[in-house]
């Protein structure tokens, strides 16, 4: 086992990793930007180093300062969390070259899966179904030729993409040139890689993903699926749950099998997630995320497995401590993302100082957060303030519990998604389960905003 782990992230996930390390008896080093000096992840780490100014390029993406911190502190491993450098193969390589174990898969696997077009090609070759898609598109004309071949609508996607950035739905050829330009610019700005590919757009599929764990000895298991279909118009996830309700058991089994097959095919190690679009009986591989995900707690709650500890154990060379048949899910879990965003204004992110902050408690409630009363929410980072996770024996009881937990939640000072998500918990269509990814955007389009 490692002696000391550098946590190359911020916010709730940095705190989450810190907790896993301490429960394993591993010392921690936090990094922080000048804007995050008062964050809980800094307070709870054994050591903490400021690595740059507020903007991410100066701090959380500053590879030299982060690796340097690891060396100065005598860390023997780096946990990248999600976002920032988590899927940066070069960072993983540099860490390794400096004697720091990267807690994640091999850099070559990160690179292959991180390039979405390459990942699709590898999956195709492994017999994993993918949506009809193009290779890298050099210009709008190539995109138009592809679209003419498979028919509109098509989805332009950044090959370096994620989080809905650099993604545009195109309904007709008339929209194509403008969409190509904006998606390229967005991808360039977000990932420093403007290359796009196109896919057949499946209308209103469900977004269902499968969690896998692989150790360094070739053993791979899945930990079920997560339904992340409740997404904002920006394609960012808002509410996630497991198991996926109202899903044909045969489709569920197929998703699990495909995920394990695909992970084996790329010799995957550590925690990873394969994202699929599910359209009735059809499943299509979308992408693989080679990191821990924001919504990992719902899986932890029903499987009783600490995924972050497993990541650390696997990276330290330990074998998986369980087989597939040991892993039996119990009940249902739902997660709500509490973001500093205004649901009445297209989820515009908000920055500011938090006033009174109260989180829920009681049976079956888990809160992962780095904020407290008085926290300054800087404008530089994503707007996630907290994740509220609940469990229930049934989906219905979990929804009731989430409604109750959100009613106990108070965050003053910035607009948040708390009340909006509570509204969703009371929605009759959400209760019936099985909504597609276009459900929330349509819901918003027809919604009368709550009076301020």
């Amino acid at each position: 086992m490692f002696r000391k782990v550098l946590i190359a992230n911020r916010g709730e996930i940095a705190l989450r990793i810190n907790r896993a390390c301490h429960e394993l008896g591993v010392a921690t080093v936090a990094i922080f930007s000048e804007a995050d000096r008062g964050s809980l992840h800094v307070r709870h780490a054994d050591e903490a180093f400021c690595v740059g100014a507020g903007p991410v390029a100066s701090s959380y993406l500053n590879i030299a300062n982060i690796i340097s911190t690891g060396l100065i502190c005598g860390a023997d491993a780096i946990h990248p969390g999600y976002g920032f450098l988590a899927e940066n193969a070069r960072f993983a390589e540099i860490a390794r070259d400096h004697g720091l174990t990267f807690i994640g898969p091999e850099p070559s696997v990160i690179a292959a899966m991180g390039d979405k077009a390459t990942a699709r090609r590898i999956m195709d070759e492994s017999g994993v179904p993918t949506t009809p898609g193009s290779g890298i598109l050099a210009n709008p004309a190539e995109a138009a030729a592809f679209a003419a071949q498979i028919g509109y609508p098509v989805l332009l996607k950044a090959t370096a993409g994620g989080g809905g950035k650099g993604m545009r739905a195109v309904e007709s050829e008339a929209e194509l040139a403008a969409a190509f330009a904006t998606a390229t610019a967005e991808a360039e700005a977000s990932f420093k890689d403007g290359r796009l590919y196109a896919e057949k757009l499946i209308r209103s599929p469900r977004h269902i993903e499968v969690q896998v764990l692989g150790d360094q000895y070739g053993d791979v298991v899945h930990l079920g699926e997560r339904d992340c279909s409740v997404q904002k118009p920006s394609h960012q996830k808002l509410i996630e749950e497991t198991p996926a309700a109202a899903l044909d058991p045969a489709v569920r089994d197929r998703l699990h099998d495909i995920a394990v097959t695909a992970a084996r095919a790329v010799k995957y190690t550590n925690a990873g997630t394969l994202e699929f679009l599910v359209d009735g009986p059809n499943v299509y591989f979308m992408e693989m995320n080679t990191r821990i995900q924001v919504e990992h707690p719902v899986t932890e709650m029903v499987y009783g497995v600490d995924l972050v500890k497993e990541q650390i154990r696997i990276a330290a060379g330990e074998r998986l401590g369980f087989t597939q048949s040991d892993l039996q899910p119990h009940g249902c879990a739902i997660e709500v993302r509490v973001n500093a965003e205004d649901p009445d204004n297209n989820f515009a992110p908000a920055a500011g100082t938090l006033g009174r902050v109260e989180f829920p408690g009681g049976p079956g409630v888990r809160v992962d957060t780095h904020v407290y009363s008085g926290t300054v929410v800087p404008p530089f980072y994503d707007s996630l303030l907290a994740k509220i996770i609940v469990t229930g024996r049934t989906r219905e009881s979990a929804i009731m519990r989430m409604e109750r937990a959100l009613a106990e939640t108070h965050i003053d000072g910035v607009k948040t998604t708390v009340e909006f998500c509570r509204e969703i918990m009371r929605d009759e269509r959400f209760a019936r389960a099985g909504v597609g990814v276009d459900w929330l955007p349509n819901y918003l389009a027809n919604r009368v905003p709550t009076p301020a």
Binding site: G38, F49, C50, N65, H98, G374
Partner: protein, 134 residues
């Protein structure tokens, strides 16, 4: 009041003061009061100039030279000493980051009023290394 006022309240204000290119900023909130003033010739002295309101300004402006990388402090031979007069923009030391030498410069003439670090000490981003009286 939080146990660490500097961390919780002064830092973000200092940042805002610095980023905003302001010359004077006073914040009053209950029993908490802080004032920032930019010294006329200061290049990077926003943090160093923070002091409780009502206290007189120092006779001479002082610049804090801060680390802009994370690494290990390395002094030159002979090492710079407190009280030393600098006739121009001088290299005072360097911070070693992954084997790369990042010079720490005085950013102009002055007198070395304070040395906050020792040779071989790990330093973080934004850590005060030297105070230079102009």
């Amino acid at each position: 009041m939080f146990e660490n006022t500097i961390v919780e309240r002064v830092r973000p204000l200092a940042q805002a003061f610095s980023d905003g290119g302001l010359t004077r900023l006073r914040v009053r909130d209950g029993d908490f009061e802080v004032e920032f003033r930019r010294a006329p010739a200061a290049v990077s002295g926003a943090v160093a100039d923070a002091r409780p309101a009502g206290e007189p300004a120092p006779a001479r402006p002082v610049d804090a030279i801060l680390a802009d990388v994370v690494g290990v402090m390395r002094f030159l031979r002979p090492a710079v000493g407190e009280g030393m007069t600098l006739d121009g923009d001088r290299e005072l030391a360097y911070v070693e980051t992954l084997g790369i030498r990042n010079p720490v410069r005085s950013r102009g003439p002055g007198r070395v009023a304070m040395i906050y670090v020792t040779d071989g000490q790990p330093v973080e981003y934004g850590q005060p290394l030297f105070a230079i009286e102009r």
